[in-house]
């Protein structure tokens, strides 16, 4: 009898079951196998043919395609398959959720106005980060916007004529560089390289054409 109980229990040790907690997910995350589960929201968006964005995180080497969840108030929310999100305003990243970096919101109105109009000069940008201690800190950066002229880049194998704008930012703690490529034909940002904060570093983004974005 006791042996039977023991065997049953040992089997159970492999898999805990519960109707409330999320410990299996937690465990899977802890041992690094937690990203095989696609978010159901994402699947339905992909099925509906929503616009997509190719992203790559240089620091972690993570890369993939994100899909547009929607737009409100000029801010677009892009979802990854595992349910993390990037929020962009006219192509410029303003927030991130679920990638770990805690970039909660940004005020990028000055650099945005400058790069869109192709105007060089000094601007200020602001970022609010969630810290590991669950507090929000806001940081400001002085940035220099420069027009780096015309560049031809390849987007999905096709050459596209673009204008490259460069933004060099610094404050007492950080220095970073953002690059934006604007299509000569449509005026839209077709490719960019943007800094998301200390933890995540740089993300590269490229629109996937033919999706009506």
């Amino acid at each position: 009898m006791k042996r039977a109980i023991l065997i049953a229990v040992l089997l159970n040790l492999m898999v805990a079951c519960s109707n409330t907690s999320y410990e299996i997910e937690t465990l899977r995350t802890a041992i690094g196998q937690g990203d095989a589960r696609p978010d159901p929201r994402v699947q339905s968006l992909i099925d509906a043919g929503a616009p997509r964005l190719q992203v790559g995180f240089l620091k972690s080497g993570l890369a993939g395609t994100m899909v547009l969840e929607g737009e409100r108030d000029g801010v677009r929310t892009w979802l990854s398959v595992d349910g993390a999100a990037l929020l962009t305003r006219d192509g410029m990243v303003v927030a991130e959720r679920g990638f770990g970096g805690g970039l909660m919101s940004s005020d990028v109105s000055q650099p945005l106005a400058a790069i869109r109009s192709g105007r060089e000069g000094e601007v200020t940008r602001f970022h609010s980060f969630l810290t590991g201690n669950d507090e929000i800190v806001t940081r400001s950066y002085k940035c220099r916007i420069e027009d780096r002229g015309e560049k031809e880049i390849l987007v999905q194998g096709k050459p596209v004529a673009t204008r490259l704008m460069r933004e060099t930012c610094r404050n007492t703690d950080h220095e970073f560089l953002n690059l934006y490529w604007f299509s000569r034909a449509s005026g839209r940002m077709v490719q960019s390289r943007q800094w998301l904060g200390d933890f995540l570093g740089v993300v590269t983004m490229r629109e996937v054409r033919g999706q009506g974005a």
Partner: protein, 700 residues
């Protein structure tokens, strides 16, 4: 305010949590120091350092916590193996240190510190020191100091403090008795000696260390033949990129030693500051929500009711909706947060889902947080503010400023069909540990556990936990309790030995709100592993206040050692009056005064440092009318404890916490009944203080 200033002047507001502070070298004692000698340095505030060092026949494991910017404390477990069979065998020794910084280093003046090692006084490490350290040319750190006790052995001289009083000339014999008491009559007495050393930083990774030690290791020399005649020690410290430090030593001209150490800042989460939870659903544009709501039956449509949609959407975010009511343009919901370690995040997600689901004419949201049907707090906010502030740079604080957080004594009238009865269960593995008892540094028990909570009606909770230990060393102890008090705790090993399947608790409780800011609980059944009986508690916890007061009274009868249904003869009425206070910063003070299990009267003092993210480190001590002779080894009950949110480690939200209490020894004096669901901790996370503190996670 600080944020506002930052924005106005456009200056950088660096993370207050720092990280720029230079890494301190840790000594074999696990405190900022050279090799065996201390320096006047301290760790960055709030840091926790773990150190393991081995050399010759000594091993030391130390935990050092910088509890105030100018005070650190250490807990150490040392093992000294014995070569000489004629003397008592190997020694396990537990010791506590404290170090106070008297002066911070300046450009022209050194840092000054004073410290006590092993101030509890049974052990072999009892010593005191005053020390000065100064950095030169960024790379050289020079330290010099004077030591007493063990640090006053080599080339010692007459205690200069004898100028004040002749008594300082002699150090009395260690008369620690049962130990655990402050050995204040020895501090800074007896001969003194000088020590010193230097650290040279070769580069960011590597340092070279050299010291002159005033410790002759007389205890070890006499017992193990360890040769410490040569006074110099040399060492290397290498700092890996991941923060781990590896030290190697050549010590006392006779042996080599190795050491690993790591300091962490609890304010930094290993998995990243923002967590890797899925993104919350984006706030949908109002016109889309309006279009979707045309199909609701409330509007003559044929779809699911708004209530059902809301409930399902909340469920998918780990939030259980148990109450729902719409009246006068306002929607009130009652939710139980089963997932988020920050209640503010649960409120934020609930608000988003309400905005995405409810028809646009509903402009006000009221979200009541409850636990098993006990309403705790409610947050009222305007729907329009969500739309306006979701992407605002200072959105979370502006949302907070426009919201109202109130005490809530009852949920909305409308209950949700099928919300009760509710069952939650778990069947899975468990592990528990006992660290650093006098005979074994680690005891453990691993097995299977079944736990279930059944809530037939709001506030009524039937709860049980049963365990089957499979691998256990808890019952290996050969100690038999020699306590002269009633054996209310000291027979713990018999419980481990004489049980197979254990019923750890099996209780029926009722929790309710007798009035504003008041919480009440009654519990009956098998309250804990060793006691069954009745328990009643009342808590006054004003919303948003720093102070809370409580009272608890229990009748407890000791359970049989088999941990099943029987009882022994011993019974007692026990209870406490409690005061809880949140200090500015991260400090929590708790005082419980009353009668303990052995019938002794006294008070427990607990001081915790609880970081805003829930990481908690604390210490407690209980003083009762039991004398130290009656108490036995350790003199009085005391210990340190940790509470680490699992979400802190993994980055994925869960309310589970890893908890561990380390007691030097568990005896019968000052022992308190362990009742499940004591009210303060049961409701604290959802009271206004914590909600506001973690409000930064509202839009997370």
């Amino acid at each position: 305010m600080r944020k506002a200033i930052c924005m106005v002047f456009g200056i950088s507001c660096a993370l207050l949590t720092g990280g720029t502070a230079r890494a301190q070298n840790l000594s074999t004692y696990g405190t900022p120091g050279l090799i065996d000698m201390p320096t006047a340095e301290v760790l960055p505030d709030g840091n926790l350092a773990m150190t393991g060092a081995v050399f010759e026949n000594t091993a030391r494991g130390t935990l050092t916590f910088q509890l105030l910017p100018w005070v650190y404390g250490s807990f150490r477990y040392a093992y000294i193996s014995d070569f000489d069979d004629t003397l008592p065998g190997s020694l396990y020794d537990r010791s506590f240190d404290i170090h106070v910084r008297l002066r911070q280093e300046t450009e022209y003046g050194p840092a000054v510190g004073v410290g006590l090692r092993d101030f509890g006084g049974t052990g072999v490490y009892g010593s005191e020191y005053i020390v000065l350290s100064k950095t030169f040319a960024d790379r050289w750190k020079v330290t010099g100091g004077m030591g007493w006790g063990r640090l006053g052995e080599r080339n010692s001289f007459k205690n200069p403090l004898a100028v004040i009083d002749d008594r300082f000339e002699t150090r009395p014999e260690n008369d620690a008795g049962e130990g655990g008491k402050l050995s204040a009559d020895q501090w800074f007495r007896g001969p003194a000696a000088l020590f010193g050393g230097v650290e040279y930083k070769v580069n960011d990774r590597l340092s070279v260390l050299a010291e002159y030690s005033s410790d002759t290791y007389s205890y070890e020399t006499s017992r193990t033949g360890f040769d410490a005649d040569f006074p110099m020690n040399f060492g290397l410290n290498y700092r890996f990129e991941n923060g781990v430090n590896l030290n190697a030593y050549y010590m006392y001209g006779s042996t080599i030693g190795f050491q690993l150490s790591r300091a962490i800042d609890p304010r930094r989460k290993p998995a990243g500051p923002g967590g890797i939870d899925e993104a919350p659903p984006m706030l949908q544009p109002v016109d889309r929500v309006a279009a979707a709501s045309w199909n609701l039956p409330e509007r003559g449509g044929e779809g699911l009711t708004a209530r059902d949609v809301l409930r399902a959407r909340l469920e998918s975010q780990g939030l259980r909706m148990v109450g729902y009511r719409i009246a006068g343009g306002r929607a009130s919901v009652e939710v139980e947060n089963n997932r988020y370690d920050a209640a503010a995040q649960a409120v934020g997600r609930t608000a988003r889902i309400m905005a995405n689901t409810l028809p646009p004419e509903i402009e006000g949201f009221e979200i009541t947080l409850t636990r098993n049907g006990l309403p705790i707090s409610s947050v009222t906010l305007a729907r329009g503010d969500l739309y306006e502030l979701e992407h605002d740079l200072d959105g979370s604080w502006r949302t907070l400023a426009r919201s109202q957080i109130r005490d809530e004594t009852e949920g909305p009238d409308g209950s949700v069909e099928g919300a009760y009865p509710h069952v939650a269960y778990r069947f899975g593995p468990y592990a528990r540990f006992s660290f650093f008892d006098p005979d074994d540094p680690l005891r453990y028990e691993i097995g299977a556990a079944f736990t279930a909570d059944y809530v037939p009606r709001p506030g009524i909770l039937l709860s049980g936990l049963a365990r089957l230990p499979i691998f256990s060393t808890l019952d290996d102890t050969t100690r038999v309790s020699d306590s002269v008090l009633p054996h209310v705790r000291s027979d713990w090993a018999r419980y481990a030995k004489e049980s197979d399947i254990q019923i750890n608790h099996l209780t029926a409780s009722y929790l309710w709100r007798p009035g504003k800011d008041l919480f009440a609980r009654v519990t009956a059944g098998y309250l804990e592993e060793m006691y069954g009986g009745f328990s009643a508690e009342l808590l006054w916890y004003p919303s948003g206040d720093q102070l809370a007061l409580g009272a608890e009274i229990n009748y407890a009868k000791q359970r049989d050692f088999d941990m099943l249904f029987g009882f022994q003869d011993y019974d007692i009425v026990t209870g406490h009056a409690s005061a809880y206070y949140d200090f500015a910063g991260d400090y929590r003070l708790q005082v419980d005064a009353g009668r303990y299990l052995a019938g002794d009267w006294g008070a427990t003092l607990s001081l915790d440092r609880e970081f805003n993210n829930g990481f908690r480190i604390g210490a407690f001590a209980t003083f009762t009318d039991v004398s130290s002779e009656e108490f036995g080894e350790g003199s009085f009950d005391k210990g340190i404890r940790f509470e680490i949110p699992v979400a802190w480690m993994t980055g994925r939200s869960t309310r589970t916490k890893a908890e561990q209490t380390i007691r030097p020894i568990l005896r019968d004096g000052g022992a308190r009944l362990q009742v499940e669901n004591r009210l303060y901790d049961y409701v604290r996370e959802e009271r206004a203080g914590r909600l506001v503190g973690q409000w930064g996670r509202f839009y997370r």
